[in-house]
Symmetry: C2
Subunit: 342 residues, 2 copies
């Protein structure tokens, strides 16, 4: 199928000129990657920005339905069967993030819609952030930085020391996928021992101890790093029981998705001192962050920024363009189709 | 020499009871380790705390001179020939820190005074802090944490991303000693290439590139991690020329000593955007921190806390006790004598 074909259904076409137009790409809400590469996308595609239209979403989608074969998706907006019902010509949903829990994959499979993601574009930077958050919590770096900025040095001599040496600690990785493996590799260099839980035991990684249950992992670890995909099975995988098992010196780091942790319980555990600290890049109802967390010094909070380096976004941009162009070309291959998680 | 011998010169001795007393140890100013282990020291030694005395320092030292064979030293107070002149019976200066630039080593050698330090007690925790500061600067973790706490998410969408991916970056270690080696080991796991400058090339580390000059190292690196000892030769080793060589995206981390960096120049470079960022645990005139630094988001400031974990202080406590007891015993060996740096 070539570019001309792709415009044969366009509702807006009125003359020959449209055959020379750029391929149309529907964007439901503003993706993070637009902060860096929006102009470059606009040079390649005619972007139909739903959030900029004065029309109600449904009307906007109906108007453009026949010209939309591709959706460029952020990780935020849910793409449900209802939305897809309005867009019967969609062939590809190209998601800017690695996680695609916002997309109804079962429905896509039924309709023969391909879903692509960021593959490994953000993997290493997210792993770096996981370690950055862990060290920031352990050494209370943001709290120390606040002390210095507020001129509380040296008066504030009660500033607490890091909980413990990182070396020789047992660290539990919740989800030993691409990101988890990179986190583990880094932690080994700090002298940590690695345990993990994952859908399946990885028999090729015999130096890492496998626990089928997260609670069992938590009993045996001082630190949990949560970096699995969000699915029905992993929702609230860090629950009250897991936090109790981790214990009052334990630290939780989340660079996955907010709902992987039962946030209400976590807040309670932190406020009551029943857990040692937390480093959170993601939250259950972003951008809402529970007020209790803001008061705590043993907590480090970042606004869903793990992996947000210019280079990672550039890699992601190239993947997105490649995936989108594969729809409008007979020769360009699909770059990063999502393997079934469902 | 036994405990009895060591008290034969004590000015305060008046009766037999003194022979049963604990060994006396002079402490000039309150060392950091007292935050955690002061009571334990007091169980073992009779501490002569100069800073708690109403007497002027000189008078205090003169009064106790004949009973002082050991000084327990922080890294802060300078121990000069003038002080040692007042304390002719000193045999050992046991320093709580690894760096001993506050002690006149030439004078000690002349007088046959042994100097001991923290050896490797803090090495791994300081290396962890170096990486923690680097990741905090790169990903602006404290600034992001402030944004979240001040409810600037999502309004503050201008929050800048990390400068660049850490992976594949050339990192320069200034001083490849115990700490530098641990920093390098950790950074390798992040996919960095390691270069270094040091007093001598380490021929057994052929995968690390050696530059005899710091400026040359800086030209070839994006990141400099300063962790060498402070000596006359390393004072202001990070000067204007080195910062210019590092360039406007470059990052400097200092977990060594403040005067290793020309702080006035660093502030100028940061304010003028001629360098990318800095992570500083140490400053030239602690606890003074230049006001300009407090205004910057690409700077992370911690109050000389690198390595301050409870476990590191416990290891240090054991070394200090061992070193001090070696003076009052014929059998206990010296634990960690300082190798000559002068």
């Amino acid at each position: 199928m070539d570019d001309r074909m792709s415009y044969s259904h366009g509702v807006e076409q009125s003359n020959e000129q449209h055959f020379l137009e750029q391929p149309k790409v529907l964007v439901l809400d503003c993706p993070a990657i637009f902060s860096f590469h929006e102009k470059k996308f606009e040079k390649k595609f005619h972007l139909l920005k739903a959030w900029e239209s004065p029309l109600p979403m449904e009307e906007f989608l109906k108007n453009h339905a026949r010209s939309v074969k591709v959706i460029l998706s952020s990780f935020k907006t849910r793409i449900t069967a209802d939305i897809l019902n309005l867009l019967p010509w969609v062939e590809l949903i190209a998601c800017e993030s690695t996680g695609v829990e916002n997309i109804d994959l079962v429905e896509c499979r039924k309709r023969g819609i391909t879903v692509t993601n960021a593959a490994s574009a953000f993997v290493e930077d997210v792993a770096d952030m996981a370690i950055g958050l862990l060290l920031a919590v352990l050494m209370k770096i943001p709290a120390a930085d606040r002390d210095v900025r507020f001129k509380l040095w040296p008066q504030n001599m009660t500033f607490p020391v890091g909980h413990f040496k990182l070396r020789e600690k047992q660290v539990g990785i919740v989800g030993l996928g691409n990101i988890g493996l990179q986190v583990a590799k880094r932690l080994e260099a700090f002298g940590c021992s690695i345990s993990y839980t994952s859908r399946k035991e990885k028999h090729n990684l015999s130096s890492y101890k496998y626990y089928p249950k997260t609670q069992e992992l938590a009993i045996n670890c001082k630190i949990l790093i949560v970096c699995c995909a969000l699915t029905d099975q992993t929702h609230h995988i860090i629950n009250r029981n897991v936090m109790e098992a981790l214990g009052k010196d334990g630290i939780v780091i989340n660079v996955g998705r907010g709902p992987l942790i039962d946030e209400k319980e976590l807040v309670k555990f932190l406020v009551e001192g029943k857990i040692g600290g937390a480093g959170l890049d993601v939250f259950e109802k972003e951008p809402y962050v529970p007020n209790e967390l803001v008061e705590l010094d043993n907590v480090v909070l970042t606004p869903h920024r793990a992996g947000f380096t210019e280079q990672a976004f550039f890699d992601d941009f190239q993947l997105l363009v490649g995936n989108i162009e594969s729809v409008f070309s007979t020769t360009n291959p699909l770059m990063s189709p999502v393997m079934e998680l469902v």
